[in-house]
Amino acid sequence: MVTVLGTHPLGGAQGRPWKERVLGRDWRMAWLFLLPLIVILVTLIAYPFLSGIVLSLQHKVIGGPATWVGLQNYRALLFGDQYGALFRKTVWISLLYTGTAVAAKLCLGMGSALLLNERFRARALMRGIFFLPWTVPSVVVALTWRWVYDGTPSGLLNLIRIQMFGSQTLVQFLADPHLALWSVIGVVVWQGTPFYTMMFLAGLQSIPGEQYEAAAIDGAGVLQRFLYILLPGLASTIVITVLLSTIWTANSINFVYVLTRGGPVNATMTFPMFAYDIGIAGARQLGMAAAVSVIFFPLFVVLIYFLTRRMLAPEAQA
């Protein structure tokens, strides 16, 4: 491609002043345009990030002075008597919560995308309906479900049990330690599935129809066509969707905060809730809370690394 530029009619690296050779042709204007973004990235992300690492090495209570304690916060979280057991429980619950929710969203999202990919009347309407939960703010979704799960005869699920199935007991969906985590996961899945549906549907529609038809004519069954044509065609969409969703699901505090606040007896204590609890709400130990985030950080670095490579792929080709 020949680049013709009004500002440099002569072009050619030799003719340019040294600054442009080293910093690039448009460096002045480029950095000027990037300045606002860079200010934001540095002051609001790089600075808090570094100060978070520093904070995790300090003993600091909100409003109080900071004292340097080295790795003591990490030791207390990983091996300590007071927080050790709770922190390990938090790790396990975060994994269970994220893993189950992502797996369920993946299955339901695939199922609903395959349904919507069929041809039938009112397809646009159905698509709009399937999409709805994802458009509602997550706190609002959580409030709605708190009312659906309500442990009195006024809550929808208990009401249905009583009036339609003649049940005599009330189920405490959010207050029963054995049920609470699954109830919260149900809400996460309800809201998160449409994202998968839409991503997969877009992916399905980009798979050329001829391939699929040819396989059908050759006598491939539904399952075979799914496994050998649709699934490989969707592979990259599936990877991106799952990675994005894993990052967001694991880090979201909204559902847990509104539905259970991490309770009952820490049965739904995911790590952002735990960091909030010891940093802001309860013990007000900012240093310890910062350490919680730092411990989880490497995991997300790995996820983000793979995701970035996937998402920047078009640029690599250009």
Partner: protein, 291 residues
């Protein structure tokens, strides 16, 4: 997708009609299940918001017996809901405008200008966009205190730029890449400056895409909860998500007005996404939302 019927060799015809019947049954059954699963919470919200308290708590029934607007009246007259709504609108609109300006300038530089460090800035943008704010919320809480951003709705705007600015930049990059360079080069040859060409060639071409990016940025800010929760304690300064989440913390569970609030608070994003759904789906593929 059209299904051309393959020449059926005799007996296969029976199994074919059987299979198409089965296909229909699976399709209808599946769609019905998903529809019920999706819609029942909405129905329950609507029903609760229209039932008088007596029907909610005392003589509960699945099918509503009386309809009343009392919860809506209570919501607008006896609660701070209008203040929450106004705060949310101001914060979300301002965040969107600032983030769009920052994002468009940066994306233009990254896609169209040649300078050292371009790849690094592009990478930094996407990494910061993907980095979850929950990892940063403890130190950010401290930073917000240092900058005195707490307890006022407007203080949320700079905080929200953390995710909306890299987000708008990244989406604008993915779109700007699709605009052929020749269009702009022609303007530059004619003697237009970079800024002029950005304003007169680039922006008009990408206006529809930018509108969708702005919608995403708006709803992300409209829905944000964690930082609003951390930074705002004064009732008059709360945004909708925090205001509603704390509706419930009070002594009495005001489910009627709360469900009315849920309905009203969901309307802006639901309308926006439903109307713009076709474009939204394309934006999703670029990783367009955090929720």
């Amino acid at each position: 997708m059209t299904r051309r019927p393959a020449p059926p060799p005799g007996a296969a015809r029976v199994s074919r009609s059987l299979r198409s019947g089965l296909r229909r049954a699976v399709l209808i059954g599946g769609l019905a299940m998903f529809t019920v699963w999706t819609l029942f919470p909405f129905m329950w919200v609507l029903e609760t918001s229209l039932k008088p308290n007596r029907d909610i708590f005392v003589e509960v029934s699945l099918v509503p017996r009386h309809v009343s607007l009392q919860h809506y009246v209570a919501l607008f007259h006896q609660s701070e809901f209008l203040a929450y709504f106004r705060n949310s609108a101001i914060v979300a609109v301002s965040t969107t405008i600032v983030a769009m300006i920052v994002g468009v300038l940066a994306a233009y530089a990254i896609t169209r200008l040649s300078f050292r460090g371009r790849a690094f800035v592009a990478n930094a943008t996407i990494v910061t966009y993907l980095a979850p704010p929950a990892l940063l919320f403890i130190p950010l809480f401290q930073v917000a205190y240092q900058f005195r951003l707490t307890d006022k709705a407007l203080g949320l705007i700079p905080i929200y730029l953390i995710f909306s600015a890299p987000f708008c930049t990244w989406l604008a990059i993915t779109y700007f890449r699709t605009i052929p360079a020749e269009m702009e080069d022609a303007a530059l040859v004619d003697g237009a400056t970079r800024l002029r060409s950005l304003l007169s060639v680039f922006l008009p071409l990408s206006l529809p895409a930018l509108a969708v990016i702005a919608l995403f940025a708006f709803t992300n800010a409209w829905n944000e909860f964690l930082f609003a929760l951390l930074l705002i304690a004064r009732d008059s300064q709360k945004t909708i998500p925090v205001g509603l989440a704390q509706f419930i913390i009070g002594d009495v569970f005001q489910w009627g007005p709360l469900m009315a609030a849920v309905l009203v608070a969901s309307l802006p994003p639901v309308l926006i996404y439903t109307l713009a759904q076709r474009w939204v789906v394309a934006g999703l593929a670029a990783g367009a939302t955090k929720s």
